[in-house]
Each structure stands twice: as structure tokens, then as C-alpha cells.
Amino acid sequence: MKCFIGIDLGSTTTKAILMDENKDVLGRGITNSRSNYDTAAAVSKQEAYIDSRFTLLRRELEQSQSGMVDIDAFLRDLERNFRREQFMEQLQDLRRTCLEFATAARFKDKEAAVREALDEIFRRVADQAGALFQPGAERKSDFFRDIAGSFYLAVAGEVCKQANLPFDQVIAVYDKAIIEVENRPPTADLKGKIVRGLENLLTEAGEDRMSSASMQQAVDRALAVELEESYVIGTGYGRVRLPFSKEHIRSEILCHGLGAHIMYHGTRTVLDIGGQDTKAIQVDANGIVQNFQMNDRCAAGCGRYLGYIADEMKIGLHELGPMALKAKKQVKINSTCTVFAGAELRDRLALGEDRADILGGLHRSIILRAMSIIARSGGITDQFTFTGGVAKNQAAVNALRELVDENYGKVTININPDSIYTGSLGAATFAYRAVMEH
């Protein structure tokens, strides 16, 4: 079947959408944007293909009336096993790369000991990380770097101590290797990994879930569907760095506008708060962009502002929102400058103000900046859609609802759980139109 791909190369994450001939979204993929945008694009695209295969498999299972009671659970388990395959493959790559870096030139007479230690580290990482893919286990992130990095760091200390090796240097080997591994294009053997994942699953679960034959057939059918990549459109901040010709690139403004329109046809104003920029877009009834404004040179009011605050408070970015929700009173943060806000935060903490209250104020402050960008673009007149990473932050969403209500009265505010894919959805739709409507 013909399929259409949209890739949104953002400053922190890269997203891909695979759309089929019926304009249905078949799969979504996301990865961290890295120094190498080509790889980020390739990885996100592959993730979208993986997701599409699972969608096709779901369809097969639903149609085949195979008698499977809990398709969701089966797919979850299959994906888990698939991820293990994928993880182990990349871990092996990382191990090989680390060993390549562990040269005599670097470690002199300790070379052999280092190589031995690396083997031991990777043995332990494989063991421990493998547990993450057990049934019922929870993974905080599916990004390889996050999982491998945290385990490597955890075990390397002990191994180095035992082997009396310099910890810093062993970490340096990892730091070098991970960049290389992460920036290597993913291997193509997608179907193989799904098949092996299925085998693992069957061993793990025994034969009682359903007849393996009918399941096997469903998987085979799903894997047999040919996904013909008809057209790709790239967008996002890093789009100029994509190896695409001009016709295959659209500005993120157009893509976000169209993406939001596809999600909610009534949308007239879109606010996107991403890592590097904030944009307000006005679209007409057909998703055509009428006007837009982006944040000025000042980064205050972007996702990065919250990142900076999280760093400043030494907590995770995802912990900010929940903590801010506990605010009991409104603290006014006056500094619009990101750096000054950090200083103001310290000042207020030193004065004994409550952390949650301050964070509540910071969330309001970031949304205040967004409000002025919305105003510059022409304000809010009708249905309003909020997208981007910050739309996942409930404290920010609450502040937005409050301020929109105060300034523009009652309007519908849409926030899609998949809002992070808005740009890539618009891009995929442009890809579809380039082929099907031309």
C-alpha cells in the first residue's frame, strides 16, 4: 500500500507519522534529536514503521477472529519482546564500539584489563537491563541512550573499583561510543526482530494464550503487507539540515497549522510551545495559515525556560508540572529573562517561599509570554488548540486555561494526547496531498 510520511525534526525530539492511502495514521515514531539529524529522521521513521506493523497486526488479529481474548495484552507483550530484541542489538553495537575505543593508545598497559572490564560491564548491563523487558516491568524511557547510559553508569563504578581502573576514562569511552552508536542509522531487519520477539513471547508465555499457528499467520500477514514509501515531507526547526530537496520540506508553521486542523477541524488558533520556540498560528477553515508569530529572540516562554528551571532546582523536567500543581497561592515571578528567573527563584527560595508556589508562578509566567505572542498573531477568536511538549504539563495547561478565559472569554481549548505529533501529522498530510491530490 502507498504510504506517506511526515517527519518533524524538533530541537529535542524528532517525530514521524506514517499515513496510509485512506489518510489514516498507521504509525507514530519518536526519538531524541541528536547531533546527527539524518539519523534522528531515520530512527523516527523506522519507529513509525514499527508502530505501523503493530497497527496492521492489530487489524489482522481483530479481523481474523482468531479467538484471542486480549489483543491489547498480546500486542503489549509482543512489543516488549520486540523492544528487548532491539535493545540487545544496539547494546551489542555499543559494546563493540566501546571495545574499539579501548585501545592501547588510550590505556597503555591497562588495555587488556579495560577490555575485560568492559566485557564485564556489558554482561551486567545486559542482565540488569534485560529485567526491564520482563512482563510487568516499567521503563521510564524507550530511548536507547537513556536506558544504556543509566545502567552503564551504575555498574561501571563497581567494576572499575574491583579492577582498579580509572572510572573517568571508562566513562569517557562510553561517552565517545554512545555518540557513534546513536548516530548510526538503524539496521533494517525489522521483520526479523518482530519474528524473534514473537518466538520469545511464545516461550515466555507458553502455548495457552491461543493457538500459535493462527497467531503466526496473523503476524505473517501483517508483515507481508508492503508499505510503499510514496512521499516524505520534512519539517521542524532542523528541516534545513535534512537531505531533502525543497519540495520535500515545509515550514513547521504550515505543518503545525495543518496538523492541528486535521486533529480538530474547528481550530482557528494554534499555540505550540516547543523546546526552542513558541509559535502562535492562525488558520482558516481549511487549515491554511493566515498569520503567525514566534517568540522574539528572547528564549523566555519556551520549553527551554522550564528546562532551565528544572536544572536550577535539580529535578527532572517532568516533575515540574506535578510539583507546581501543589501550589497553594499565586506567586508572581517578574523576571521574563530565563537567567534572571533562575536568580529570582533562588532569591525566593532563600526567603523561605514555598517551592510549589514559586513553580506555580513560573508556569504562569511562561504562559504569560505565550499570551503576548498569541496577541501579536491576532488573538483568539474561536476554537483554540495547544500543542508541543509543554502541552503535556498540567500546570502549564491550567495556567493557559485561566489566562485564555481571562483575556478572551469562553473558548474551546483542545489538547490532544498526541499533540507532540501535530507537526509531523501536518507534514504527512502534505505528503499525502503531494501524491494523491495532484
Partner: protein, 390 residues
């Protein structure tokens, strides 16, 4: 007799009231009353007053206003005062204002004139261009004609003729006001513990919001109360503040300076209330009198041109000497062209005169006082040490 606390409390509530209730009430008290707002740095309030209107000083929104719409109009590299001023207008807090004067202080305030002309086409918004040529025959002639035009505009706006007699009455009242403020500054320079910086500030700010008649009474009674009040004298150093003539610092900042060990003995807050260094002539042609006073007795500030190089910065050296200060604190609003462009020249003048100084920037909504307290505290300590060793 009212105590300083009572008086200052009244001033503080006027200062905090961003709905300008006092001015609204003044306007509502009689039909056809009009209010004309003005921004720093100087306007002839006498003309507004003589037309039976209330001059109302608009000095930004301070640190208590949440600027939402105002930010939509300004890039990040422009100071705060026009943002909060626009916010005050857009949030209808100034909907009762019938006219606005924007003095020639800098390009940002200048352009704000045009912004208000576009945003509030129903309102009289006038750019008040002061001559930078101080010759009677040249700048003077221009200025007299500008004042006549303004007089004419105000007559139209108020519906009242501005007679010479009425204008002379106004001049007398504002002369009195300037005299009282001068007295207040002299008292503070001599006995700064009796007139805390925030009190002098709030008292001055009240003068931007009240009819001059009321303000004169207020200042008079404050001076009386302050003289007789028994307040502890602290071991503070005396400093002159420079750079705060337009965008206002948060009250907390002024308080912080004093807490850090600095008595403020002179400043450039609200220069309008002592712009004329000499009384305006109360006889003869009142327009001529206002023009002559402006040309020859204006205070010097960063926002005006200094024709004589040797005099550059001498006003600040003079202010230090007159007030018995031991140093200068330059505190300029971020992105303030007049204050920041002028500063190196003022610092050279201070260097030549051997006067120590420090410099920092603020915004009307600055939230962190710790660094300012530290700098001011260190400055005060170093002045004391230096004084002891000298």
C-alpha cells in the same frame, strides 16, 4: 496633627491604587472635569491646572501589575515602563483620562505618543517637545509658541479659557509645591534619618496623583511631623541616587538601599516637582515666565543636552556636595537610553572629583533584591572604611 505614618499611609494607598480612584473621584465630583495624564520627565502642569483640569502623573505600573497585553507590543530589549503603561490603558484602568502628554525624554516614550494615537484615537495624545536650544530668541521663541499651542489645545479639551490670571494662580501654587519639595530634600539631606527614602518617594509620588492644592498641604504637614518626630539615627553612609528619573524602581528596592546602610540624600525621582531650580515669575506674561524658567532654570538630567563640555556631569558632583553625600549609586532601568548612554560621562566627572560610586540596573518589576542589597551594603561599608582611613 497627622503623624508621618498616617501621611505616608495615605500616600502608599494612592501609590498602590492602579485604578487611580482618587483621580476618578476628583473627576466625578463635578461635571465636565477633565484629567490630563503625563509621563516623565517634565510638563508644565500649570497649564493643565489653569484649564481646570487635573494633571495626573503616569509612571508605569510598578511591580504589582501583571503585564499581558503590554508585552505583545514590545520586543524584549525595550524597557518596562511603556509596557505597563500600555497595559494600564488596555485594561481600562486609564479609561477616564482625557489627554496625555509625552515629554521628549527618549525615543521609546516619544513613540508611545503615536501608539496611543493609534490605540486611543478618541484621546488627546500630545508629544511635548522641549527645546534643546536654550537661547531666548531661538529655542525660547519656539517654546513660547509650543506653549501657546498647548494652551489652545487645553482650552479646547477643557472647554475653559486659560486666562493669564488663572495661569498666574497656577504658577503660584506650583511654585509653592516646588518650594516645599525643596524644603523636604534639604531636611532629608541634613537629617536623613528623619525622612526615610521610601517616605520621601511616596510623598513625591502622591504629588503626581493629587491636586496640587492637596499635595501642598500634605507635604507641609509631613515636613512638620518629620521635623518633630523622634527617629533613631543609624550609622549609614549618605548617597545620591542617579538614573531613576523615568521608569520607577520597586519600592522594595529603595527600601533595600536604606536597609543596606545607605541614606538617600538626593535623587532624580520625579524631577518634575523640582524641575525649575528657581521660582517661575509670578508677574508679567505667564507663558513667557514658564518659558524663561525652563530655558534658564531647568534642572540638568541625562535626558537633555548639555551645551558646555566642561559642565558635563557637574550637576551630579554639585548634588553630592550640596547634600553632603559620600557617594553615588547609579541605578538605571535596563535598556534606558538616556541613563545608560550618559553614565560613562557622569562617572568621569565623579572620578575627577574623587567621588566613589557603584552602578547596577533594575526594572520596575525587579523581583530580586538580594544582589542589590549586597552591592549597596558593600558600597556603604567601603565608604565607611575609606572615610576612617582618609
Amino acid at each position: 496633627m497627622a503623624t508621618t505614618d498616617q501621611i505616608i499611609q495615605r500616600c502608599q494607598s494612592l501609590f498602590e491604587d492602579l485604578h487611580f480612584t482618587a483621580a476618578r473621584e476628583w473627576k466625578a465630583a463635578e461635571p465636565d472635569r477633565k484629567v490630563v495624564g503625563f509621563m516623565p520627565i517634565y510638563v508644565p502642569r500649570e497649564l493643565i491646572h489653569a484649564a481646570g483640569m487635573l494633571p495626573l502623573g503616569i509612571f508605569g505600573g510598578g511591580d504589582q501589575i501583571e503585564v499581558i497585553q503590554g508585552d505583545a507590543y514590545y520586543q524584549s530589549y525595550i524597557c518596562r515602563i511603556p509596557r505597563s503603561t500600555i497595559e494600564l490603558f488596555l485594561t481600562k484602568r486609564l479609561d477616564f483620562v482625557d489627554g496625555m502628554l509625552f515629554p521628549s525624554i527618549c525615543d521609546v516614550i516619544r513613540n508611545l505618543t503615536g501608539m496611543l494615537q493609534l490605540i486611543r484615537p478618541d484621546m488627546y495624545a500630545h508629544y511635548y517637545d522641549m527645546p534643546q536650544n536654550y537661547d531666548d530668541r531661538v529655542g525660547g521663541e519656539f517654546y513660547v509658541n509650543e506653549l501657546q499651542e498647548l494652551r489652545h489645545d487645553f482650552e479646547n479639551l477643557s472647554g475653559n479659557e486659560i486666562t493669564d490670571a488663572a495661569l498666574r494662580v497656577s504658577i503660584v501654587l506650583f511654585n509653592r509645591n516646588r518650594e516645599l519639595i525643596k524644603e523636604l530634600y534639604i531636611l532629608r539631606a541634613a537629617e536623613p534619618w528623619k525622612v526615610p527614602a521610601t517616605e520621601a518617594y511616596l510623598l513625591s509620588r502622591a504629588g503626581m496623583l493629587l491636586p496640587v492644592e492637596d499635595h501642598n498641604v500634605l507635604v507641609e504637614s509631613y515636613i512638620k511631623a518629620a521635623r518633630s518626630a523622634d527617629r533613631p539615627r543609624r550609622d549609614n553612609c549618605k548617597i545620591v541616587l542617579s538614573g531613576m528619573f523615568c521608569e520607577q524602581p520597586p519600592l522594595n528596592l529603595i527600601k533595600s538601599l536604606e536597609l543596606a546602610g545607605c541614606y538617600v540624600v538626593d535623587d532624580d525621582f520625579m524631577l518634575i516637582n523640582r524641575w525649575m531650580q528657581e521660582p517661575v515669575s509670578e508677574t508679567g506674561d505667564p507663558i513667557e515666565a514658564l518659558a524663561r524658567a525652563f530655558l534658564h532654570h531647568s534642572t540638568k538630567t541625562s535626558a537633555t543636552y548639555e551645551p558646555i563640555e566642561a559642565d558635563k556631569g557637574q550637576y551630579l558632583v554639585e548634588a553630592v556636595r550640596k547634600s553632603g553625600a559620600e557617594g553615588v549609586i547609579f541605578a538605571a532601568p535596563s535598556f534606558c537610553d538616556p541613563a545608560l548612554l550618559e553614565r560613562p560621562m557622569l562617572q568621569d566627572a565623579l572620578n575627577a572629583a574623587g567621588i566613589p560610586y557603584i552602578a547596577f540596573k533594575y526594572a520596575e518589576n525587579s523581583g530580586q533584591m538580594q544582589p542589590i542589597r549586597e552591592q549597596a551594603g558593600t558600597f556603604a561599608d567601603s565608604i565607611k572604611l575609606w572615610g576612617e582611613n582618609a
